[in-house]
């Protein structure tokens, strides 16, 4: 039924109406969307700053493809770990989508299971990121310099992935709290929109990674 009432004519109708502007959107969800919009600006500006310093510096920019390569089966495979991390995060996004779906079916057991699965994949992501940091640091990359060129390479890398990693970590904690509270029956009186709200946050974290992957690792 959502599609049925979603024509362009509804824009003016909705904005001109009383009580709620976003029809059918609970308070928590509206607030999460607005927060994510604000957060979008934070990551956009991180990435814009990265673009600016990279374009400004006259030092050579290290080749991400080589920096982030790993040895596998006797070959050097570019961006191997990053690719695995990407797939891991997509997997977690999928499980999250399922959790939301089961949430709205009021299937508490399955919803909790998939939330926990999401949290697990999230934790794995953070673990892999820690490994990646460890590897880079042991190769001499520091926020203030690296052996191959512009110092901003390390600065941007640690700052952007660090900030994203913080979001993921916070998301894992958030997911586990929601799972626990679902289990305790805190949300039994509602229609479990809380699962969708935490889902929005989680998908956003995945979304940010898509941009980081494209701009930092591939470009």
């Amino acid at each position: 039924m959502a599609e049925a009432s979603a024509g362009h004519a509804t824009i003016i109708q909705d904005w001109a109406s009383d009580v709620t502007t976003f029809k059918g959107v609970p308070w928590g969800k509206a607030m999460m969307w607005i927060f994510l919009l604000s957060d979008t600006f934070i990551f956009s500006i991180f990435l814009t700053s990265y673009m600016t310093v990279r374009a400004t510096t006259a030092e050579p920019w290290p080749n991400a493809s080589e920096v982030f390569s790993l040895m596998a089966f006797g070959h050097s495979v570019p961006l191997l770990l990053i690719a695995i991390m990407t797939f891991d995060l997509i997997t977690s996004s999928g499980t999250m989508a399922l959790a939301v779906n089961y949430g709205y079916r009021r299937d508490k057991r399955k919803a909790i299971f998939f939330i926990c699965a999401t949290a697990f994949f999230g934790a794995v992501f953070v673990g892999m990121q820690m490994f990646e940091w460890y590897k880079l640091i042991s190769e001499g990359v520091r926020p203030w310099g690296n052996p191959w060129g512009a110092a901003q390479f390390g600065s941007c890398f640690f700052m952007i992935t660090g900030f994203h990693g913080l979001h993921v970590s916070a998301g894992v904690v958030y997911l586990l709290i929601i799972a626990y509270r679902l289990h305790k029956g805190v949300y039994d009186k509602t229609n479990f929109e809380i699962v969708e709200i935490v889902g929005l946050y989680w998908h956003f974290v995945d979304l940010v990674w898509v941009f980081i992957f494209a701009f930092f690792y591939l470009w």
Partner: protein, 584 residues
């Protein structure tokens, strides 16, 4: 869909406090939080006032100032802290944290903000940010003296006061403030969009709410730029990354050689990408509130309500693409001047429309010169001066000789220093009866008004002309440095500065009279009754004055009309509140 039609707030569970601590400290009531914000902002504002005295002392009487122990360090620290406190911790916090919190739910007919708990945390985080900011005064090296714009490399290199701890507490405090603002701001926006009472469409909202709404949205989208640049500058300072730091040969900072390849201009762009919307974060709520004050006390509807709303929206949108007009002589790409001068002058059009509509509201009105109205009128004329001088500085080539002079100081004090503060005063005189149930003392109020309005004009108007002469801003001493008179600072200018300083001392002292009024009227003030001004908006329609937690009785009010039905022809009363039904 059926469910969405029922306002959530009817079933909203409110956390009713019992002990003193939960009632006044850990309170989730938006009205208490508003007052907490207000008192904290005023307290920190008094610090800024004292700082302004220190710098005016030095500017007006350089020899006496130096003899009294005002060193260049203290001077630069004072201007920095004064600027930052006024812009962020007083004006933003007061207009959004205090007015926003108090007015949004009451004017919209809601019981509280949508997430009262988050709202409560917002205040406490704000308080923390203020404490961290003031910590700069007790930590080694004192607060930062980098100027409120905190431009790197200067802000983090020795040679500027406060590079030990001051700059760290400053940046940390800003980051904390942004967290606090975000928590509050999400509440304001969600409440306005999703928790209005029946009949309250967006186009029936009082302009106060519109101004606060637009400003909050701007804040949520602009503060990220400041947050990110604060993070990057902290990294530059603490672990020597080079985001904003190019290769540097500093005579004073041996560590500066570690930097290479960064871009100082990046910081300026990010700072003003935040900083220009910030101007409107302060201005738009003031625009909104003053529209309501003018309308109520002129007993006339605000002229051109729809145009006013669209002007607010247009200003909000445009404010994101004008930022680099602060950077015309910053050495950015030369062709940016064309783009930013054009967008900046376009933004003047909706702003001018607002001014016209305020003045036309006075035409054929029935103006009562109450204290709030006096402040509202003086706002308009002050804002006209500040806005027009903005056209000088926004027009790129005109800005060239005037930037970094006293003309700029005069302009921004008129437009976003004095103007919003006049509105804050007007707003307090206007809503104090609602908040406490008592009127503020009228005689003291009038004294306060006349000294403030005349005094601020005398302070700032002549400053424009110092700017024409070429007196630079942020100079600890204009005379000593030249060893005598110079073309850009003739002796007459020194005399003028002394006069300005004396005026500033007097005007500043009169603000304490205002605080005395606030305190004493709380016990001694005349009983106000529920609607002393004969206003139409919902906050005057609560069953109790002051409103209790939850604001309304069993039923939320239903809105039937806009907020400006004053002097409607054929009606007995000269005002009709919003929740009075229309005759069939």
């Amino acid at each position: 869909m059926a469910q969405a039609e029922i306002p959530y707030q009817e079933s909203m569970e409110l956390h009713h406090p019992h002990s003193w601590v939960t009632k006044y400290w850990y309170s989730q009531d938006h009205k208490v939080i508003a007052i907490q914000y207000g008192i904290t902002a005023m307290a920190v504002g008094l610090v800024a006032l004292v700082l302004s005295w220190i710098m005016r002392m030095q500017i007006g009487f350089p020899e006496t100032g130096a003899a009294w122990g005002i060193t260049p360090d203290i001077y630069y620290q004072s201007i920095t802290m004064h600027g930052m406190i006024m812009v962020i911790y007083l004006l933003t916090a007061f207009l959004l944290g205090s007015f926003g919190n108090y007015l949004i739910p009451l004017m919209l007919g809601a019981r509280d903000m949508v997430f009262p708990f988050v709202n409560m945390i917002s205040y406490h985080v704000y308080l923390l940010s203020v404490i961290v900011l003031l910590l700069g005064y007790v930590l080694p090296g004192g607060p930062t003296g980098a100027g409120w714009t905190l431009y790197p490399p200067q802000a983090i290199l020795s040679g500027t006061p406060g590079v030990d701890w001051g700059i760290i507490t400053m940046l940390g405090s800003l980051a904390i403030f942004i967290v606090a603002f975000t928590m509050g701001g999400l509440n304001y926006v969600t409440t306005i969009l999703q928790a209005r009472t029946r009949g309250m469409t967006l186009m029936r909202m009082p302009l106060s709410v519109w101004g606060i709404f637009a400003a909050t949205v701007l804040g949520l989208l602009a503060f990220p730029a400041l947050f990110v640049s604060a993070v990057m500058m902290l990294l530059d300072k603490l672990i020597h990354t080079s985001f904003f730091m190019p290769a540097i040969a500093s005579a004073f900072d041996a560590a500066a050689t570690q930097y290479d390849g960064g871009s100082p201009l990046l910081f300026q762009h990010l700072f003003w990408f935040f900083g220009h919307p910030e101007v409107y974060i302060v201005a738009l709520p003031a625009f909104g509130v003053v529209s309501d004050l003018l309308s109520v006390h002129a007993r006339k509807n605000i002229f051109g309500y729809r145009m006013m709303v669209w002007a607010i929206v247009a200003i909000g949108v445009l404010s994101f693409i004008v930022w680099a007009h602060h950077m015309y002589v910053a050495g950015m790409h030369p062709y940016f001047g064309f783009f930013f001068a054009t967008t900046t002058l376009i933004i003047a059009v909706p702003t001018a429309i607002k001014v016209y509509n305020w003045t036309i509201t006075l035409w054929r009105a029935n103006i009562k010169f109450t204290v709030p109205m006096l402040f509202a009128i003086s706002f308009v004329i002050t804002f006209v001066v500040g806005g027009l001088t903005g056209l000088f500085l926004g027009n790129v080539i005109v800005d060239v000789p005037l930037s970094d002079t006293y003309f700029v100081v005069a302009h921004f004090h008129m437009v976003m220093g004095v103007s919003p503060i006049l509105v804050i005063f007007g707003g307090i005189y206007h809503w104090y009866p609602k908040i406490t149930g008592r009127m503020l003392n009228d005689t003291i109020g009038k004294w306060h008004f006349w000294v403030t309005a005349i005094g601020t004009y005398l302070i700032y108007f002549p400053m424009h002309y110092l700017g024409f002469v070429g007196t630079p801003r942020r100079y600890y001493d204009n005379v000593l440095a030249s060893g005598g008179e110079s073309a850009f600072y003739p002796e007459s200018a020194a005399l003028l500065n002394a006069g300005i300083s004396i005026t500033a001392f007097v005007v500043g002292a009169f603000q304490f009279l205002f605080i005395y009024n606030l305190v004493v009227s709380y016990w001694r003030g005349r009983e106000a009754g529920p609607n002393p001004w004969g206003a139409t908006s919902l906050e005057w329609r609560t069953p109790q004055t002051p409103p209790i937690h939850g604001n309304w009785g069993d039923q939320l009010p239903t809105v039937h009309r806009w907020a400006y039905d004053f002097s409607v022809p054929g009606e007995k009363e000269d005002f009709i509140p919003q929740d009075v039904p229309r005759q069939a």
